[in-house]
Symmetry: C2
Subunit: 208 residues, 2 copies
């Protein structure tokens, strides 16, 4: 079983490889890739080692090939259809976030329950639908991942509706734990976790 | 040197302990805490082991004491003053995000460069200031952490201004790498990394 930390790092390696390619590099050593990603090079080799033999000992990795291999591992060569629920400030920002679409995630449906939002066209071009029509829209647009960006009080209800509509992968941004059956995968996101990381490092580096 | 993954998990343990306290639990075993946090119990004991002796062998941890100890480790007993730059959809959502303030992070200043936003009061009560006044505002309000929620094209310039104003800890949400000197700490956030994790698990669990 691949550790979650490895998956997260693979995604970080992939982004750095994209930037290296953009800057004109053809080859990168595990030491340099590790330094760019703020991990040690043994970790890079260990993470990649789960998936096979990459690169040339003593030389490094081909920047373009390794990206393709990692993208395949991350199953993001294909497009994933997202449905966003709760088109407030956060939902709206996410729909338009550049990296979303750049990495094969396409927001194909947007849902809300506010009368003044339903039926309006979002700046991205997406029509905001009534959450009551979730089931039909999921079927029609083949929504695979549900993203919850509603207030905490609405989150469990929205999760239940997504599950009823057979959306089994959920990304939850609301600050509450949602309960789902075993067939469903939930990733919870809270940016304040990254603030904690920053604060800890800052606190400890400041103390010396 | 404490691994970053440990810091992230400590923050997750802390949240689960808060929920346990809310549900009336006084003690939790490392097995149960591990299960709630989706890690194995050896990892929990290893992470906490970096910081000392906690809990009672064979019994578990005191839910309230362990929270206090972890919060102290995470240096979030005290308040950290944030300055948000770029009060668009994402910046606005972050200012009002419940968990921010619940964990000792207080947004004390908001900056933008759009004439129709400068001088306006944000719904949270915060006055949106001109980014040109960053230096004075940082000194006056003791801003410790800068949060960049501008478009990618503005991010490096904003980082330079924060550094000039002696803000040495930056949380960057824009989809671009910013360059900073050694004295500055940057955490980059891209929630598409979590989408990658979700997709990988989904892809691999679906294949069986
Ligand atoms: N994870 C993070 O780091 C993070 C950061 C910022 C905000 N948040 C959270 O994201 C959520 C959204 O924040 P926001 O600032 O965009 O809020 P918002 O109030 O601007 O938007 C919420 C939207 O959800 C809609 N909604 C409410 N109930 C609904 C329902 N039952 N079905 C469909 N739509 C519904 C509302 O009409 C509104 O459009 C909040 O829970 C907030 O705490 C999380
Ligand atoms: N990290 C993530 O997961 C994630 C998710 C969503 C959005 N984003 C990113 O966050 C950023 C903001 O997204 P948004 O949808 O809120 O955009 P937005 O256009 O709604 O807001 C951007 C704000 O920045 C202000 N601004 C521009 N240049 C500035 C400058 N030089 N100084 C001060 N303020 C300036 C604008 O006036 C505007 O208010 C984008 O870079 C987007 O790609 C990241």
């Amino acid at each position: 079983k691949i550790p979650k930390a490895t998956i997260t790092r693979l995604s970080i390696y992939d982004r750095q490889l994209e930037l290296l390619e953009f800057d004109g590099y053809r080859v990168v050593s595990s030491e340099k890739l590790a330094w760019l990603c703020q991990v040690n090079s043994a970790q890079v080799r260990k993470d990649l080692g789960y998936f096979g033999e990459f690169g040339i000992r003593g030389v490094g990795y081909d920047v373009i090939d390794l990206q393709a291999q990692i993208k395949e591992i991350l199953a993001i060569n294909r497009n994933w259809n997202l449905g966003m629920v709760g088109i407030g400030k956060l939902g709206s920002a996410l729909i338009q976030h550049h990296n979303f679409s750049a990495r094969g995630f396409k927001c194909v449906a947007a849902f809300d329950n506010a009368p003044d939002k339903i039926g309006k066209r979002h700046p991205s071009g997406l029509m905001i639908r009534n959450i009551d029509e979730l089931r039909e829209a999921v079927r029609e647009l083949d929504v695979e991942i549900g993203v919850i960006t509603t207030p905490a009080s609405a989150a469990q209800r929205v999760a239940d509706l997504l599950l009823e509509a057979h959306v089994n992968a959920i990304l939850n941004f609301s600050p509450t734990r949602i309960r789902v059956p075993e067939c469903c995968l939930v990733e919870h996101i809270d940016f304040t976790v990254m603030l904690d990381v920053l604060v800890y490092k800052f606190h400890h580096e400041a103390r010396g």
